[in-house]
Symmetry: C2
Subunit: 386 residues, 2 copies
């Protein structure tokens, strides 16, 4: 894109560079700085109980509802490194805060890369020096610098009336496991309270990033941070702000799914006809994680029996004799039995839409996105750390 | 094996033949008959809520605690065929009961094969005729006739003092999805009550078949049936009987895991250090189903970070800073951090032992068996129904 993502809103500067963390020599560190006047911030973190050191640090930093900068590195997750990992993350953030003239608690950190390797602290400290020197309208460079196995950088800009939201993101579960961390940074020059920011981010994540369920694996490092500085002087309505945050998150989520290495099919699953939305989500996730179903999608095989076998194990109310399944809006199973032309549906395209009605007549619905299970997925994920 | 499995105990006869259900022309129907004098029987069925027609029928037949015969077919699961499927299963069983001079409720049915294809009833009825004519000491032929993608038949014999248990089994999750059904038949000439039989079978299944967790998928047709006829005139102690049932189930479970198509590694996972056994099982299953972990096993890659990332998502008490991981008894992660020689452990063999201690000091432990995720798994499972 011609416009810069996270530096599109007023009052945000960024930088990206190669600090030597990646063996490839590619860019691997980024810095995003909020120049104010306000420093409102909120974050959403991984649900995994094994969390990386930068996640612990950033949670604490965001507890105040304010933040001035985020330091990113790619190539090393700084996860499962024990007390040393916590100390290393703090050392990098302390150095960044000093260089930026900020307090320790003003700076968050996000890391992505291999788990369990010591952070190369000296490289990161030198990287911070270079980043601080190069701060400017470099949103695109920052987005490139947080990539791991991503093939393209991901950015988004959403414009309000006199204000805007910028965003960058990287990664997603199916691409390369321990590198699979999803990191997203959202910036806005709107003036909003921490409560409004947090509510908007939670709502947007719930229907965008949280519906991306590629392999059931959840990174130790997943982090989405939103910073708002009010530099536009405008306080949008809560509705407008929430819509813009949602739009930015949706764009990044689409880009993440579209850049899935090892994936040949993008699968959208909608479940309805159960008692609650939560039950529908259970069923949709169970189906989206079922390897037999995912292999069938890879083979463009309308094997709807696997859909029933998968949802039958889900924690959701259902009428086992009244389940319907549609592939690309073609009915392949009605009242839990196959339709005469079920095998004739064409699943050869890259996008497959799957709708499942669990048959109780209840109002619960849910939507998740997943992918197929391909040879390339196995190839990419079978020889990573060594 | 030279000895016949299900016909090894006194008073059981069996037959197997090709009825034309499989396109290959291989044997695809079997019949196991209990000649008495007692007809004690019990069963354990799939936990899936989408159940095949023969499962519904067999559950009803076993409600009385007695059974005289089981009709098996391979190549068609008779699942998700609606009311027609139920009627077709009943038609086959009605015919078998007539030919055998039994009542309808004396005969159970087990099917394995593709889901959602109408049962070729005429072929099965003719098959029943042939089976009844050929009943005899044909346990091995029966075991061959229930195979789908199994490469070898599975049988077991356990001898008590003057009594014995015979067994046959087929299938397992990783082999070929909709064909993945696990069917097991156990016969014994011991004289036991339905309660003793059921308790013994439940206990044995819990630590054998239920610890086989290959891809998290559960068939619509899984059935384990135990028939006891007292023909030996001996009533073993409950302890001896339970030990023998466990031994027979363990043997079949080992054979199922060993015959896993598309699998290059057999992985044994033990989880300890959490509050309850159930929590430990949650963690072991979560790890055993994690595709990133399974791909690492395929690549002989000691990427222990994936173990922590996986168990961190499990519903189990843990100390996130005190988790230990051992590959083949080599410590690769202690106190949630990597050991200096973690990458040096040799995982090139076909068997990999993984031990995870969740670090709470609690007494909960669990064990599951799984496999790697290989190219062949994807190949076998991506083009099945068409």
């Amino acid at each position: 894109m011609s416009e810069q993502g996270v530096t599109a809103p007023k009052g945000f500067v960024a930088a990206g560079l190669a600090a030597g963390i990646k063996a490839s020599g590619n860019k691997d560190m980024a810095l995003v700085v909020n120049e104010g006047p306000e420093f409102t911030a909120t974050g959403v973190f991984t649900r995994n109980r094994i969390v990386a050191s930068p996640v612990k640090l950033s949670r604490k930093a965001l507890a105040s509802g304010e933040l001035k900068a985020v330091v990113y590195n790619a190539g090393n997750a700084n996860a499962c490194n024990g007390a040393q990992g916590d100390a290393d993350a703090a050392t990098v953030v302390t150095h960044a805060a000093e260089k930026l003239g900020m307090d320790f608690g003003d700076v968050a950190a996000c890391s992505t890369g291999i788990i369990g390797e010591p952070l190369p602290v000296a490289k990161l400290l030198a990287g911070v020096d270079g980043l601080v020197e190069n701060l400017g309208d470099n949103g695109h460079e920052a987005a490139e610098s947080i990539m791991t196995t991503d093939t393209v950088s991901k950015e988004a800009i959403v414009k309000g009336e006199g204000w805007s939201i910028g965003a960058m993101g990287k990664g997603v579960g199916m691409m390369a496991p321990s590198l699979a961390t999803m990191l997203v940074c959202l910036t806005t020059d709107a003036s909003v309270t921490a409560e409004v920011a947090h509510e908007a981010l939670e709502k947007a994540c719930a229907v965008t990033f949280n519906t991306l369920d590629i392999d059931g694996s959840t990174s130790t490092n997943d982090t989405v941070i939103l910073m708002a500085n009010g530099a536009s002087g405008i306080t949008p309505s809560v509705e407008d702000f929430e819509a813009a945050v949602l739009s930015a998150c949706a764009s990044i989520a689409d880009q993440l799914q579209a850049d899935a290495e090892g994936v040949t099919k993008r699968v959208r699953i909608t479940v309805s006809g159960t008692t609650t939305d939560e039950q529908a989500l259970n069923a949709a996730r169970t189906l989206g994680r079922d390897n037999l179903f995912k292999c069938a999608m890879f083979g463009s095989d309308p094997n709807w029996g696997r859909v029933l076998a998968a949802v039958g194990m889900a924690d959701a109310d259902m009428d086992p004799d009244n389940i319907s399944v549609y592939f690309n809006d073609h009915a392949v199973c009605l009242k839990s039995g196959g339709t005469p032309d079920a095998r004739e549906v064409d699943l050869s395209g890259a996008d497959i839409d799957v709708k499942v009605d669990l048959g109780t007549g209840g109002p619960g619905t849910a939507f998740v996105r997943t992918t197929d299970l391909s040879y390339a997925y196995v190839e990419i994920n079978s020889a990573y750390s060594t």
